[in-house]
């Protein structure tokens, strides 16, 4: 087994979950209603928990301490898809957050569905610890997907405004969906037994009936490749990631040796 490939793959998994979880956590206190605030915060915690588990596998492979891997690596070394680092909307968490729930639901749905497809592939990975972890995480992601699907249907069939906002969210999400499927330096093989086409096909087969069920047209535009110059799997990122990392690691950097 090629350990370099395995390490590359684990960084993709860990970084995706960490960045997705961090953005989700930024809805705390801001979600559309009280009940959803708690629900979405729980999902954020779950995602960060999954990231932690992947960083621990990297730690076991001698990559360094899991916390250091999460908080101290520069943006250029990060392997998350660019879509996941995008802010939730205008403003920042602390200053005039005018966040966009339509975009958030659209992104959460397309990402978690992708993640579900990817986890299924990982359960067949030749690296046994990863296959076992993927099977465990998959059970939790099932509920996340149900949560996002329910919101998707709710917005799509709610009011004219909710439908319009969801559609606007999908239009923002779509051009960067291809960045999820990119595999960077990970070739198809025994560690990751699927091709980009496999991933896209399975994802489309799940998502397109959902669009049909609420009468939404399948968005135009290619989803097979990341936008030019923004392939997160190869360390290409928007400035959004720099800002995210600065905020996320601020406390950790104040006292790197401290036990929290």
């Amino acid at each position: 087994m090629n350990e370099q490939i395995l390490v590359e793959l684990l960084y993709q998994l860990a970084d995706d979950e960490l960045v997705a979880g961090h953005r989700a956590s930024e809805w705390l206190g801001l979600a559309p209603h009280f009940e959803e605030d708690i629900a979405f915060a729980s999902i954020a915690q779950d995602e960060i928990g999954h990231a932690t588990a992947f960083y621990r596998l990297l730690e076991e492979l001698g990559q360094g301490k899991a916390d250091d891997l999460a908080f101290l690596r520069p943006a250029a070394e990060r392997r998350n898809a660019v879509l996941l680092e995008r802010p939730n909307g205008a403003g920042t968490y602390l200053e005039n957050p005018a966040f966009d729930w339509g975009f958030t639901v659209a992104r959460a749905l397309v990402y978690d569905l992708f993640d579900t497809v990817r986890l299924e592939v990982l359960t067949r990975s030749a690296y046994e610890p990863l296959a076992q972890l993927a099977a465990k995480i998959r059970r939790e992601e099932r509920y996340h997907l149900l949560h996002h699907t329910t919101w998707f249907k709710r917005l799509a069939t709610g009011t004219d405004e909710s439908r319009r906002r969801l559609q606007a969210g999908l239009e923002r999400v779509w051009p960067e969906v291809g960045g999820l499927f990119a595999l960077g330096f990970v070739p198809t093989g025994d560690i990751f037994p699927a091709t980009i086409t496999d991933l896209v096909d399975r994802w489309t087969a799940e998502l397109s009936p959902l669009f049909d069920s609420v009468g939404l047209a399948w968005p135009s535009g290619q989803i097979m490749r990341p936008p030019v110059g923004l392939d997160g799997r190869r360390g290409q990122h928007a400035s959004d990631l720099e800002e995210l990392l600065a905020t996320m690691s601020e406390v950790y950097r104040t006292a790197p040796g401290a036990a929290w």
Binding site: H33, E35, Y143, T150, G158
Partner: protein
């Protein structure tokens, strides 16, 4: 929208902790649909606890008594006989006597 329906409704939440237990009311959530209500109930009431089943019921579908209507619950005459505590020592004594009399009857019957 053809009819005036609120977008959100209050749902009462009932949780069953294990298969042998009844569903117990735990509180309520505000939600846009029954499906949403189940999700919200799971997150808001089962963040730490585990369960095997959740029921949600739209609050307005719950029919209730009126607190003012005290007569509905009137219990003026002696209903002691419906209570377990109504069956005390003297009852046990009566039962013993009765059973004994049955046995005596049986004896007489055999003699004949």
């Amino acid at each position: 929208m053809s009819e005036e329906k609120p977008l959100f409704n209050v749902y009462e939440v009932f949780v069953q902790k294990d298969h042998g237990s009844p569903h117990v009311w735990v509180g309520s959530v505000d939600a846009g649909s029954p499906d949403d209500a189940l999700l919200m109930a799971r997150e808001n009431f089962l963040r730490r606890e585990t369960a095997v089943s959740i029921w949600v019921v739209r609050q307005q579908d719950v029919h209730r008594t009126d607190y003012e209507d005290r007569d509905f619950f009137a219990r003026e005459s002696d209903k002691q006989y419906r209570m377990l505590s109504g069956y005390n020592k003297s009852n046990a004594e009566k039962w013993r006597k009765y059973k004994k009399s049955l046995l005596d009857l049986e004896k007489d019957f055999v003699k004949d």
